[in-house]
Structure formats: structure tokens, C-alpha cells
Symmetry: C2
Subunit: 642 residues, 2 copies
């Protein structure tokens, strides 16, 4: 399909926006009037600039409040529109978006509207222009595409068609299915936006919360299917009003924009394929179709960039938490630690991506590795969706583990699954300590330890890019958005998982500057893996053992356990176990239980969580987050005092 984007979707000045849009390989652009009014050159200069960049100017928008309750008003509107046609001549575009009126005296009667729009269509036709009429969800009278279609149908003029916008239709929870009955050539333009469901009025919703398809909660795919079923073969365009996007770097955001359209096309194709073949006419446009999203089995390893000193401290922490050193890389200054099935790589290699990452971000997870049966297909998909492939140095006889850059610049590897002997495939690159590996499996309490989930801290404004990356590239599904209370400010987390829960992740952002996460993001040049949550079989026993060995674990205040008892009326012995082990507890409405405990954080950058899920508990223990975050703050204060 032809792909376009409205200039209002990106931040900055018009020239920068057009360059970003062209670099992301869009076919065209909608010029938003304010961008033109702010432009210091002539409209002809915009035309030339777009042409130089290989961008068509698909539409000029918006023209507001056309219809009127008096002939004088209509005459005035027709006069106004002639001046816009002049402007469009200079811009070199023939399509004008006219949105439904928000004036108190706007017309609701489609017969009267048709009379006035017939005049508009005539005027446009005379000038070689076309009108795309759109229903604003907050229009005074015309709010629905069905009303617009009524007018367009009655006028029946080649210069008058519809503009459909997924936000306006879906935000009102209007049914897009009847779009299928509209002749596709009467739809002149299609604008696409997604949004989270927010409890506010539809105008506020539209002006501040729109996002790219795949980042929100609307069924944009379903609406797009109806539009294609109608026989639409034109352009799909993004029109996003979003406070974050208005401030986001235009280049990166334009790449996300393209990724969202490509993903949407794939979803529409999959959705059509899943329906009965007879249900709809064959598609008249070709849809983007990359290799399917990889089936992910878990994490093969998590790699931390360290220098020698940091490596020693992190190794000490790992050993104190029960990890063993189980291997060293065949050709690099890289060590491998294991606990059950969990693998942590410490990369001390100088002159490497890792060291470069360390210099910029301190001791951080510079790479994570997902396990999938077909790494190559995963990479091809990721590249097709605009990711950058990264190739490292490979020693003789070593595996070529493919990787792409994640949105924060860290690496995401795709690793094949375990070998026939049950060992991680990537371990072939390591000289393994066979005794240590055997001991991992023999140590009953942690023999089955595995990575349950990762929490990723992201800078402000980075939740949406990450959601799209994980959804489109990795096929994960966004879940709840949760508010967490740090003693020094509000955090928000977004949970994203694979359908079989083999991969669970959570993105966390601090919306204010005073929280520990904000300070860490500011000090260390960005976010990164903030928690590695390890599932064990008997958490209380595990934590008691760690405490007995003097491992650095996060203390939990006694008052917390007193309240736990009042809240859940727990078995006294069980409660005593939680208290002695320093384990947080949450119970869901179905009786599922989550036990979790924390090691002390490393450099205020990341921490290890140990968890146990019981009875089908499926969440992340967020009701305990105020207590965990306060305990962390106490721990920090004690460190500083001590």
C-alpha cells in the first residue's frame, strides 16, 4: 500500500519533519496547515522540498467549519476555500481534508449539508481539486462516518469523497463493519491512529493520547480490514496528536511510524487469512508480509558489560546469590555464570561493543538473548520491520549468533534452543566447567531456576517505542498499564508478554525527576534492564538459605507482615516463614499467590528478584511495589549514611 504521514505527527520544524519522513521511506505526506503557516519560505518551496525528497504531498489539512446556517456563512466558506485551493496549487496537491463543523450552529440535516457540499464539490471540481470529508468524533452534529457517507452519497460528485480516520470511529466505539458497504472509490483517504482507553472526553483523548497503530488498545486492524473489504486501494496515513510525540526526536519517531504501518498491514493480512476465504473479496492491494513473529522459548542469557573492577563486584554478588561460575569464552574475556537454567554473561572484553556500552552506561545489561527455533527468520523479520542488524566479531569455529539493536541501543540476540544434551546452544562458544554445570542441576532448591521476567527501565517517552518494538518485532502482546508509587514520585509500568507466557517483560518509566529510576536514567545515559526476576521452586527456603549465608538481600519492615496478616489472615506458620525469609506476598482474586524477594541493587542500576508463582498467579506483584520501593529507598539511605 502507499504509506503517508501527517506532518503534525512529528516534532520540530517542517524541513526536519519532511527529511525524517523521507528517511523512513514514506511515499507521501499530509501537510498540516500550522506547519505551513510556521514555514518561513513560500508554499512553492515546500513543494520543491518534498519533491527533492521523493515525497508526494498527498493532502492539505484541515479545512474547518465549512457548513453554515445562513447563505452568507456558506458564501464566506466558499470564499475561504478558494484561497486554500490557491495554496494547494502552490503546494502541488489536489486533495483537501474538510472536517465536520464544531460550531454551535453546525448543520445536522444531511439534505441541507448535501446542498452545501454540492457547492463545495462544484467549486473543487472547477479548480481540479478533490474534497475528503471527515467526521470529527466531537463534531457538533456530524460525528460518524455514516453521516458523512450520507452526504457524500447524496451529493454524488466525483470531487467529493470520504476521509476515514480510525480514531474518530473507534474512540466513539462506533462499528466500522458498515464501511464494507461503501464503494471503495468513494473513500478518498484513510488516516490511522491507535490510542489507549483513557477516561476523558473524546477531544482530550484525541489531542493528547493518540499513538501509532500497535501502541494502543484500539482494533485498528479490524477497521482497516473493513476499509480494504470496501475495495479501498488508496493511501494509508498516520495522523497522531500526542504530547510525547510532539517532543520525541523526529527521525526515530518516523521509523516507528513506518514500523507501525508495516505491522498493521501484516496483521490485516493475517486477519483476512484467518477468516473464511469466501468472507470477503480478494485484496486489491498488496500488504506487507514479513516472516511470522518468532516463537520464543525464554532467555538464553543476559549479558552485562563490565570492566575488571565491576566484574569482580558483580561476580561476588552473583556468587553470594547462589550462582556458580560455569564457563569462560573460547576467544574473549567473557565469563559465564549459572543458576539452574539462568545464564548471566559478564563481558570484560576491551575494544568491544560491550566496553563501549560500559563507558556510556556503566555496569548494564548490554545484551539480552532470546531463545527461538529459527533465529534467522527472527532477524529477517526484525530487519524488515526497520531494525538494524548488528554483527560482532566471531572467533574461529564459534557460533554466529545474530542480533539486532533494541530501541535503547542494547543488543537483542536470537539463540537456537538447547542442544540434544540439554545444554544451551550458545554455550558451545564457551569452555564449560562440566563439574560446575552438573552441580547446578544437582542443587535441588534452584535446579529449575529460570528467568521469569525482565523489567526494563526506560526514559520518559520511551514506553511507546518499546511497546511497538516488542509487539511488532517479537510478537509480544501488551497487557496492563500499572501505576507504582516510589516514595519520591509516580512510576508507570506496562506489562508485555508472549501468549504462552514464556516471555514476560515489564517496561517501567518514571514520570518525575526525583525517583531513583529517574536519577539512574539521567546518571547512566538511559534505561536498561532494571530487574532480572528468577523463578525458584521454594522461595521461602531459598531466601532463608541466602539470608543464613549473609547474602545482600533487601530487608522488609516488620510492619508490612503485620498488615499482611490483617489483610489475608494467613496461616501463622506460613506468615512466620515469609517474615523470617523477608518475602513479599500477594494473592489474586482467584487465590493464585505470588511470593517475591529482592537482592540488594547493584550500583542502583539493576537488581535480582527471586519469585515463586502458586496456583496460576499471572501478574507481577505490583500491590507490593510501594513497600519494595520504600525498602529500596531505606537501603540507599543506609548505604549513604553507612
Amino acid at each position: 500500500m502507499r504509506r503517508s504521514i501527517a506532518t503534525v505527527s512529528l516534532s520540530g520544524m517542517l524541513r526536519d519533519k519532511l527529511q525524517a519522513i523521507a528517511a523512513a521511506r514514506f511515499d507521501g505526506v499530509e501537510i498540516f496547515e500550522n506547519d505551513l503557516l510556521q514555514f518561513s519560505g513560500k508554499p512553492q518551496d515546500v513543494k520543491a522540498m518534498a519533491a527533492d525528497l521523493g515525497l508526494a504531498i498527498d493532502m492539505f489539512q484541515p479545512f474547518r467549519d465549512f457548513d453554515g446556517s445562513t447563505p452568507a456563512q456558506v458564501a464566506r466558506s466558499l470564499d475561504r476555500v478558494e484561497r486554500k485551493f490557491d495554496l494547494m496549487d502552490a503546494l502541488g496537491t489536489d486533495l483537501l481534508l474538510v472536517c465536520s463543523s464544531v460550531q454551535p450552529d453546525a448543520l445536522g440535516d444531511t439534505d441541507r449539508l448535501a446542498e452545501q457540499f454540492a457547492q463545495l464539490a462544484e467549486a473543487a471540481g472547477r479548480r481540479g481539486k478533490r474534497i475528503a470529508y471527515e467526521a470529527l468524533a466531537w463534531g457538533s452534529q456530524v460525528k460518524l462516518f455514516s453521516q458523512v457517507w450520507d452526504v457524500v452519497r447524496k451529493v454524488n460528485h466525483p470531487a467529493l469523497g470520504m476521509c476515514l480516520d480510525s480514531f474518530h470511529t473507534l474512540s466513539l466505539r462506533d462499528d466500522p463493519a458498515p464501511i464494507r458497504q461503501i464503494p471503495g472509490d468513494r473513500i478518498f483517504y484513510v488516516q490511522l491512529a491507535d490510542a489507549p482507553w483513557v477516561n476523558t472526553d473524546v477531544l482530550t483523548h484525541s489531542r493528547h493520547y493518540r499513538c501509532f497503530p500497535g501502541q494502543g488498545e484500539f482494533d485498528v486492524t479490524g477497521m482497516m480490514r473493513a476499509i480494504l473489504d470496501a475495495g479501498y486501494t488508496g493511501t494509508i496515513s498516520l495522523e497522531i496528536f500526542n504530547d510525547e510525540f510532539r517532543s520525541a526526536p523526529a527521525r526515530a519517531n518516523a521509523v516507528d511510524a513506518m514500523r507501525s504501518l508495516l505491522w498493521l498491514e501484516e496483521q490485516v493480512g493475517l486477519s483476512r487469512a484467518a477468516a473464511a476465504p469466501s468472507a470477503a473479496p480478494a485484496p486489491q492491494v498488496s500488504l506487507f508480509s514479513p516472516p511470522p513473529a518468532p516463537k520464543l522459548a525464554g532467555w538464553s542469557f543476559i549479558e552485562f558489560s563490565v570492566d575488571t573492577a565491576a566484574a569482580a563486584r558483580l561476580a561476588e554478588l552473583l556468587l553470594s546469590l547462589g550462582f556458580s561460575r560455569i564457563g569462560r569464552h573460547r576467544s574473549k574475556d567473557v565469563e559465564l555464570y549459572g543458576l539452574g537454567d539462568v545464564r548471566i554473561v559478564l563481558n570484560r572484553e576491551t575494544e568491544s561493543f560491550s566496553r563501549h556500552y560500559f563507558e556510556r552506561h556503566g555496569t548494564s545489561a548490554c545484551a539480552t538473548a532470546l531463545t527461538t527455533a529459527n533465529p534467522q527468520a527472527a532477524i529477517v523479520r526484525a530487519e524488515a520491520l526497520g531494525c538494524t542488524r548488528v554483527t560482532g566479531q566471531i572467533g574461529q569455529g564459534e557460533l554466529d549468533i545474530p542480533a539486532v539493536q533494541a530501541p535503547d541501543g542494547s543488543l537483542l540476540y536470537f539463540c537456537p534452543p538447547a542442544n540434544a544434551d540439554g545444554h544451551h546452544a550458545f554455550e558451545a562458544d564457551f569452555v564449560m566447567d562440566a563439574d560446575a554445570v552438573a552441580a547446578l542441576a544437582a542443587h535441588a532448591p534452584t535446579a529449575t531456576a529460570r528467568v521469569d521476567h525482565l523489567v526494563q527501565a526506560v526514559p520518559a517517552g520511551q514506553i511507546e517505542p518499546w511497546v511497538l518494538f516488542q509487539r511488532a518485532v517479537l510478537g509480544l502482546t501488551p497487557q496492563r498499564s500499572v501505576v507504582l508509587h516510589d516514595p519520591f514520585g509516580v512510576l508507570r509500568s506496562r506489562e508485555i508478554e508472549s501468549s504462552d507466557k514464556a516471555i514476560r517483560t515489564s517496561l517501567i518509566v518514571s514520570e518525575r525527576d526525583n525517583t531513583a529510576i529517574s536519577r539512574s536514567v539521567a546518571r547512566l545515559g538511559g534505561g536498561g534492564v532494571q530487574q532480572v526476576a528468577i523463578e525458584v521452586q521454594d522461595l521461602i527456603a531459598s531466601m532463608k538459605a541466602l539470608r543464613a549465608q549473609g547474602a545482600p538481600v533487601l530487608p522488609v519492615p516488620d510492619n508490612y507482615f503485620d498488615d499482611l496478616d490483617a489483610k489475608y489472615a494467613l496461616d501463622p506458620a506460613f506468615l512466620q516463614g515469609l517474615r523470617e525469609a523477608g518475602v513479599f506476598y500477594e494473592r489474586d482474586a482467584q487465590g493464585g499467590e505470588y511470593l517475591h524477594a529482592y537482592a540488594a541493587p547493584f550500583d542502583d542500576r539493576f537488581e535480582f528478584e527471586f519469585i515463586e508463582r502458586r496456583g496460576g498467579y499471572d501478574l507481577y506483584g505490583s500491590t507490593n511495589s510501594p513497600f519494595r520501593l520504600a525498602a529500596l529507598a531505606e537501603w540507599r539511605a543506609a548505604q549513604q549514611a553507612g
Copy 2:
């Protein structure tokens, strides 16, 4: 009145919160349960800590979901509450807040509720405790204070009373007047919060948008009057859930909290005094009553901190904009510039507050001076409301112009009005150039020039403190909150004015990091005066003259004027005048007109705006802000390109 605050209203850990609350001279504190659960010591330690600080623990809160649909549920609740009574014994408080249930099976029948609350009251009485029952605005069944009163009245037990909360009542637009009929001693506690009106659900409204009385739009004064009319003599307490406050420095925020209560008491007193004396019983409590808010006549001067180099550059800018150098300070290295009635002070004095300000903030307005008939009364009021008075060095025979610190640490002077000869009173401290002064009045186009308004840029989170400062200390009234679009992110502005419009100000905050304002705030260690708007009589002529003289004025794109014509159908000659003069234009619904133009900004920190109001136009030209901000961005880009 006794004044209290809930620990949840402040950021940080419990110890820091209590210290901040005590420092702001509160009488007591409500312990919010989560603060206790996060506390690593024992409840007895909290009791001791509060006692050491001279704070009473007025209440423990909240106890949720007491009532139940089955006897087993009630028994469980009664068991739970006994444990809270244990905790309250340790804390040394006798009052427990019980809020209405949010459970799906909560009771709505007040007879059944009364049965269960009678049991609760009995239990509390046995333990020497009292219950304050509160209606949550989002309770499943009990949402209104009238329902709670129904239950309390029916139970009729000395251990059961009401907790009133202005947020719950006013957010539902419920009428507080019937509170007058409730015996005052059945009201056990009063919680106060204000809020802006936000289009969202009441729970989101409560959890994220509450603010201190005077910062929002609720009629907290009216509700408080009804409560006092009922004969209430107990504590007033602040309970604020606000995303900004959760991240704000606790000390400063506690001072604001106290200021808001003091201001509220004054407003209640004024409101009672304004009503017919017979309308209500005499107050049974004493209300805070400072000197009345000053009547302000305008700005006497605006003072910029400069060093020698900056002074030269700023003087050059002022002269190019038509200002004249009209005086020098009798004893300090300070110069005075004038344009009509506008006075700009350049302070080069070393070893001064101004130089210290310059070192921290660059060339900035380190002081503003308001004109008022009784400066001394204004200072007494400001000090009574928690402001810090600042005394500077005064030369022999010079005026003692009193000042207080504004929320950003700059100085706010109060100056007496003009002398009998029509000259600014403060000019007595200057050796004035009589010829230059006479020339100001003789230059017709700017003879009447005056400061129309100041725009103050503030860091994130500082709108609310400023609003309270200007409302409480200066008696200004907050007006609209407006969204402005910078090319690199969203700004919000809040307009605040005196009732006679002699003082108009606007606070502006950038909610994202990439805007010019954000960068300036970050680079220069805070906000400050960002615009000085000067009213002139014939703006088009003035700007044409400035342009002809080569003054550094902000260019306005031609495309802007083309659109202006399409929008307003202006007289061609008038439009041509706007275009040639580079003047922005806005027309309000009543036909009032605003003409405005800008000088190039100084160090990206502040700028001079020239304006003309016609036909009763009363706003700030914000519809033009996208074009003005884009023009600024273009100007900056051109500067950088050289």
C-alpha cells in the same frame, strides 16, 4: 483552628515527612497506613518521633471495606479492626478513618449499615477509640456525606462520627449546604483538598489531581463555611493525592500546605463577614486573619542581574527597542532605563544579591517590584503567610523598599505609588537624567507605554506553588489554563490576574525536555521572567519604526498573514500594515482585538513583547503561540547557523 496534614500529601520517607510537617508548624498529622508499613521501626517509634517534633497523631487511616453482605464478612472486618486498634495504641492515636466500601457487594441500605456500624462503634468504644466514617466519592453504594450522616445518626453512639472531605463532596458537585444541619460534634474530622476540573472519572481525579486549597477550582471556602456553621471546632487537615506532590521536595511543599490552610481560613472569615451577620451563628473557633491582600497598581520596575558584559548587551537591546537611559543609582552600580512608564533596572553591583543571582541564573530578572499604596501591610501579610522577608543594603537617605522571596528565590518588592510630581517613588534613589525623563513623555508613540503583563517560566511542578503564592500573598485570581504548542513539545500556561487587571501574569511550564523553555530552565538553574509585555498605543506604527531602525525583531512568516486574511477577512490596508510591521493578530468572539509583536530573545532567557489591546480584548493572544514559538525556533536555528 488546629491544623493537620496526612502523610500521603508529601514525598519521601516517614521521618522526612514528619520533620517537614513539624517545620511548617502543623499541630498534628494523619498517619497514612502505607507510610507506616514502609517504616522500618516499630509503631511506638513513630509515636516517639512525632512527640519529639511536637506533632499530635490525629488520625490513622484508612480502614477500607468495613461493611459486608454476610455475617462472616462483618466478623472478619471486626477482627481486622481490632488489630488496627492495637496499632493505634502503639501510635498513640484514638481516631480511625473508615471509608465507605468500594466492594461490589457493599451495602447501600442505611439501616443494615447502621447495624454493622453500631457493632464497630461498640468495639471502638471498648478500646477507647473513635471512628470517623467517610463517604468516598467512588464508593459502590455510599458516595455522599448525607448517606454517612444517615448511618451516624441512626447508630447514635459517642464513638462514631463523620469525616468530611471537600474533595469527595465537591468533585461530585454535591451541595455542602446541608452540612449546616449536622450537629458539629458529630463531625469528628475534616479533610480538605482542592482540585482543577478535569474531564475524567472521579477516582482518577482524586488520585492524581488533588491540590492544596487555593490551587484548584473547587469552592473549598464555601464548604468550610458550612462546616463551621455546623459548629465544628475540630481539626482541619490536608489530604492530597497528586503526582507532582509525590515528587516535590517535602519541606517546601509543607510550607505551601500551611499557606493554603491559612489562606483558606482568611477566605472563610471574609466570606462570613460579607454575609448578613444574622445568617449564621458566631464562629466558635478563631480563624487566621492577616492584613488584607494589597491593592496593586502595576509594576514599578523590573530588575535584571547582569555583569559588565551582559549589561552592555542588554542596554544595547533596550536602546534599540526605544528605551532611554534615564538614571543611575545614588550608591550602587545600577542603571535605570525607561520607555513611557516602563522601568528596567540593570544591576551590575558586585557582592550583591543580584550578582549571586547572576552567577546562578545568568542574565535574569532577579527582582520585580509591584506598586501598592501600603507596602508595609503587603509585607506583613506575606510574612504571615510564610514568606521570607529580605532586607538589602540601603545607602544613606535611600528608601527602604521592602521585599520578600518569590517561590523561585527572586525578590518581590512592594513600592509606594508615584510621587506628587508623577515620578516613580523608587526613583528617589537614583540620580535621574531630567532631560531623558522629559523626553520619554514627549515621545508620543510610546509616552503611555506600560507593562501589560509578565510571563514567568517555571520548572515542572512549580505551577501550583506559584499559583498559591500569587493568590494568597498577592490576592490575584487564577484564570484559564492553556495548552501551547512549541515545535518541540507541549507547554502549559496558567493566567493569573488582579480583579481590576492592573496586574496580569502568566505562568508557563514545559512538560517535556526538548523545548527551548525546558533547555533554558535546565541550563540556567530554574525559571524566571520570560516575557515582559509592554502595551503601546499604536503597535503597527511602533513596530514599523523599530524595524526601520534595524531593531532585532522577530520575523513573522508571510504564510501566517495569508491565513489571517482567510480567517478574519481583514481590511486589506490593515492586513498590509500587520504584514509590514510583523505583528501577530487575534480577534475574540466579542470582536476585541489583540495585536502583538516580539523582539528577538536575550540569551534564550527572556524577551520583550509589544502589544496593543483594542475593544476590550482581555486575553494573551495564545492562538498565535504556535507561530510565535515556531518563529523563535527559526530565529534560534538561524543564529546557530550564523
